[in-house]
């Protein structure tokens, strides 16, 4: 079974440019998370989806960040315009319908963003 797939793995952009990250969760997983991981830190939640509904986006900087999960499967996270402080690894994770019984999330390899 394929794991969580993210692309691109690496992205280098100039500040003020837009960037987008894509995530395809494990088949059948209805919950999808986007986390941001700064260098030397633990991941911090940006947004959580239950199917196509964003049920927790309280930590998403909505002035420049946006996310969508059309059809409740894959998801896109966009930053426009990017700032120097956005340099980080963006992690996508998914969990199955019974995740509340286990709490286990399955993570992708992440997308490393460098803003120059």
């Amino acid at each position: 079974e394929a794991g969580v797939v993210q692309s691109p793995r690496y992205k280098i952009i100039e500040k003020k440019q837009p960037v987008a990250f894509w995530c395809n969760p494990i088949s059948g997983h209805n919950t999808l998370y986007w986390y941001r991981q700064n260098l030397g830190q633990g991941p911090e939640l940006l947004i959580r989806y239950e199917n196509e509904e964003a049920v927790d986006d309280s930590q998403l900087p909505k002035d420049r960040f946006s996310a969508e999960r059309l059809k409740g499967v894959d998801s896109t996270l966009k930053i426009q315009p990017a700032e120097l402080g956005d340099s980080a690894v963006y992690l996508c994770a998914s969990s199955p319908r019974d995740w509340r019984n286990t709490g286990e999330l399955f993570f992708g390899e992440g997308s490393r963003l460098t803003v120059l």
Binding site: G42, E44, R48
Partner: protein, 116 residues
């Protein structure tokens, strides 16, 4: 808000020896889960071990075991017979169903080095 604290930014251990990674957390919830996740240099986060708060028995998973002290809000990870492949960043994480809104809250991590 729930917080997770890992007081050891870095730890090292000799191959075949035992090492303990520390974690404390703060919560007012009564029902929650605690996790240790491993993040090798490839960056994909992998679940190591899970502990349900209502269980008094400490979880074990092969060479990995935890010391869960609920009253002290302490959750340490013991790695026995350390192997070179254990070298990674280890994150302690909290998952609750109340005010934490079904999200994983991570500590800042402990970088484990295994010396041959």
């Amino acid at each position: 808000a729930q917080t997770v604290t890992q007081s050891q930014p870095e730890m090292s251990v000799q191959e075949a020896e035992t090492v303990t990674l520390s974690c404390t957390y703060d919560t007012s919830e009564s029902d929650y889960y605690l996790f240790w996740y491993k993040q090798p240099p490839s960056r994909q986060m992998i679940l190591v071990i899970r502990q349900e708060a209502y269980k008094q028995q400490n979880a074990t998973e092969n060479r990995f075991s935890v010391n869960f002290q609920k009253a002290a809000k302490s959750f340490s990870l013991k790695i026995s017979d350390s192997q070179l492949g254990d070298a990674a960043m280890y994150f302690c994480a909290y998952f609750g169903s109340g005010g934490s809104n079904y999200k994983l809250t991570f500590g800042k991590g402990t970088l484990l080095t295994v010396n041959p």
